[in-house]
């Protein structure tokens, strides 16, 4: 069992999968000679050469499209967006092509491709570089969507994403690449579509993913001081969503709060709340509350940014509210 950073766990996944299958290649801006903008791909160019670690010009629509075309022709591309903020200029490729072509061609073409990179706010990057695409890219059918928050999940899920025969959107976070955790030495896969209970509890279910996980875990600690025992469910995969794990937990606690690093309006957190009330309304003793970004563009100033992103303190308030606990 080694202690790895998330970036190292992702690199290990890429390395193992590239070694395992010569069709796997990494493509994106600065992935090769620069060793990766966030050093995820450090050393891979030297090991696999320029055909398999492909530096691209700044042309997201171009290289996302090339990845799609290559996948249709039998390769297994991993396309890195330096951040998903830049994927906006490739949305036609992502949504009109990647998410559609298997279905549109009635199964004639497969698209085993991974689009990965950091998503969500980092630190003081202002509004164009601090956006969450969780809902935007989970909305159109056709993708699988993964969001990781620990080195263990990062490695096991990226390997599964690369082996998946479908297009996978794989969300990481700039501010979490340095997060450390245990990663087994032996090979393992984590199936896409399986949530993970990161902290068991009995009173309130806190549902989260990605950057929301540390917030949710901290809020759970705070609530423990109030005598509220939180169960933290890391969904890990947004699409397909492991609803069973969520519902099982809420059936036990009868209360749910979603902690999400994304905007509230039409957010994925809202989708989760909707699914809970659609399926197990009678299990709820309180409305499902959410702790998300504030509904505003991300300001640069540190104090303002701090107000906008989810906080453990606000998450605690939501948890206490659904528990009908006096603050």
């Amino acid at each position: 069992m080694a202690i790895l950073q998330i970036r190292e766990a992702l690199r290990a996944a890429l390395d193992e999968e590239m070694a395992r299958d010569p069709r796997v290649f990494l493509m994106g801006e600065e992935v090769g000679h620069y060793d990766g903008a966030y050093k995820v791909s450090q050393g891979l160019l030297a090991k696999y050469g320029e055909m398999r670690v492909v530096d691209t010009p700044i042309c997201e629509a171009g290289f996302a499209g090339v990845g799609i075309g290559a996948a249709m022709a039998g390769l297994r591309p991993v396309v890195e967006f330096m951040t998903f903020n830049f994927s906006l200029v490739a949305f036609d490729q992502l949504i009109n092509n990647a998410a559609k072509l298997h279905h549109l061609s009635n199964g004639q073409f497969t698209l085993p491709i991974v689009f990965r990179g950091p998503n969500g706010a980092a630190h003081m990057l202002s509004s164009t570089h601090s956006q969450a695409f969780d809902a935007l890219l989970s909305h159109p059918p056709g993708f699988k969507v993964v969001s990781i928050a620990t080195p263990y999940d990062a490695k096991g899920l990226l390997k599964s994403a690369i082996r998946d025969p479908n297009p996978v959107v794989f969300f990481e976070s700039e501010v979490m690449y340095g997060v450390k955790g245990e990663v087994p030495d032996e090979e393992y896969l984590i199936p896409i579509g399986q949530a993970d209970v990161k902290r068991p509890g009995s009173d309130v279910t806190v549902i989260t993913w990605g950057q929301g996980l540390p917030v949710a875990l901290r809020a759970a600690e705070l609530c423990a001081e109030d005598g509220i025992d939180c169960e933290v469910v890391d969904v890990r995969t947004l699409r397909p969503l492991d609803e069973k794990t969520i519902f099982d937990s809420v059936r036990k606690t009868h209360r749910a709060v979603v902690v999400a690093h994304e905007w509230p309006t039409c957010g994925f957190s809202g989708h989760i709340a909707t699914r809970i009330q659609e399926e197990i309304l009678d299990e709820l003793d309180a409305p499902v509350l959410r702790e998300t970004y504030e509904d505003v563009n991300m300001p640069y100033a540190e104090n303002l940014e701090k107000l906008v992103i989810p906080s453990a303190e606000r998450a605690r308030e939501a948890i206490l509210r659904v528990a009908y606990h006096r603050i």
Binding site: G49, E50, T56, G62, I68, G69, N97, H102
Partner: protein, 363 residues
């Protein structure tokens, strides 16, 4: 290119030598597309086809010539004006018409309609309906060919209307940067929907965009299917043998509106008539009669055969069942990986190097 260029030459005697059988074969292929499109238009007016229906009438020589230069494994990626390519490449007209009718037996099971023909077995890698969006995808197919060393050429067709959009240039850039085996063909039918080229491009010669991507470029007014074939063959050879991307502009004309709902009031009757005078289908018909002594009766008989084939396609489409309701969910995600050979095991390790330039400050 202005419309008046079309009347500069009638091509007699032909520059490219040909035999009667060869001419008859290609003429028949062009006629098949034309009759298919005409019957589709009629079915549209009868309410059997809905949505957008973009006809290829006037541009048939391009698809037919493309099939002539393709080798097994080669790919065609094209726009939403895609019926002609399907028929030329060998798709079953019945499946094509059934797709237009939205039937279970359609090329893609009624999921795509007119704009989204895919027929992998004949090399048709797709009809794409977002202008320019398929250009990087075609570059990706060519990237895979280079990666796998499969020797295949990707032919990517676009209208001149795709030149303004960024994706086209990003696809061009990567194809040029990595020297990918791809032939980009601009089917310049002179109107982006209703907007004439002069109102969207500062230059008439669209191939001037090629050199900045180190493309080999070529340009031709489409009058003679053999000429088109020769120019396409040259480009395909460069792509296949030297991994040299090419940009070929083919100036042509569509005799119908942009789509069925377009009355084409943006162009004059005189202009349409001028281009019709050198419509390759009619020119080759005259050529068959005048230069090869084929009788009118023989041509009528040939036409009857073609019409019968296409009418059978209409009848087939008409009689075909609608897709089963549950089919709408089919192929959202890969259901059975083992049904897709490309997802199976891969043990080759001979991945070639990617060509990378070094910077020369002198340019």
């Amino acid at each position: 290119m202005t419309a008046s260029d079309a009347s500069t030459s009638h091509g007699h005697p032909p520059k490219i030598p040909r035999t009667k059988d060869e001419l008859l074969r290609l003429y028949r292929q062009m006629l098949r597309i034309r009759r298919f499109e005409e019957l589709a238009a009629r079915a549209y007016t009868q309410g059997k086809i809905s949505g957008f229906l973009h006809l290829y009438i006037g541009q048939e020589a391009i698809a037919v010539a493309t099939k002539e230069v393709m080798e097994p494994g080669d790919r065609v990626v094209t726009t939403y004006r895609d019926h002609g390519f399907a028929l030329a490449l060998g798709s079953d007209p019945k499946a094509c018409m059934a797709e237009l009718f939205g039937k279970k037996t359609g090329l893609v099971g009624g999921k795509g309609g007119s704009m989204h023909f895919f027929d992998r077995k004949v090399g048709l890698w797709g009809g794409y309906a977002i202008v320019g969006g398929h250009v990087p995808v075609a570059a990706g197919h060519a990237f895979a060919s280079k990666y796998l060393g499969d020797g295949a050429v990707t032919f990517c067709f676009m209208g001149e209307g795709a030149l303004p959009i960024g994706a086209t240039h990003e696809g061009f850039l990567l194809a040029g940067l990595w020297k990918l085996p791809v032939v980009f063909v601009i089917e310049n039918n002179q109107y982006a929907m209703g907007t004439p080229l002069a109102r969207t491009s500062p230059v008439d010669d669209l191939t001037v965009r090629g050199p900045v991507y180190r493309f080999v470029t070529d340009r031709l007014v489409v009058r003679d299917v053999f000429e088109v074939r020769e120019h396409l063959a040259r480009a395909a050879r460069r792509a296949r043998e030297q991994s040299q991307p090419c940009l070929l502009e083919l100036v042509t004309y569509r005799f119908r509106g942009h789509s069925m709902s377009d009355p084409a009031k943006y162009r004059t009757k005189e202009e349409v008539e001028r281009w019709k005078a050198q419509d390759p289908v009619h020119r080759h018909e005259r050529e068959l009669m005048e230069d090869f002594g084929v009788t009118e009766e023989a041509l009528e008989a040939l036409d009857d055969e073609v019409v019968a084939e296409m009418q059978a396609a209409v009848d087939f489409a008409d009689a075909s069942p609608l897709p089963d309701p549950e089919e709408r969910f089919q192929h959202m995600y890969v259901e059975d990986p083992s049904a897709h050979p490309e997802l199976g095991p891969f043990d080759r390790t001979d991945i070639p190097a990617l060509t990378v330039r070094s910077f020369d400050p002198k340019g």
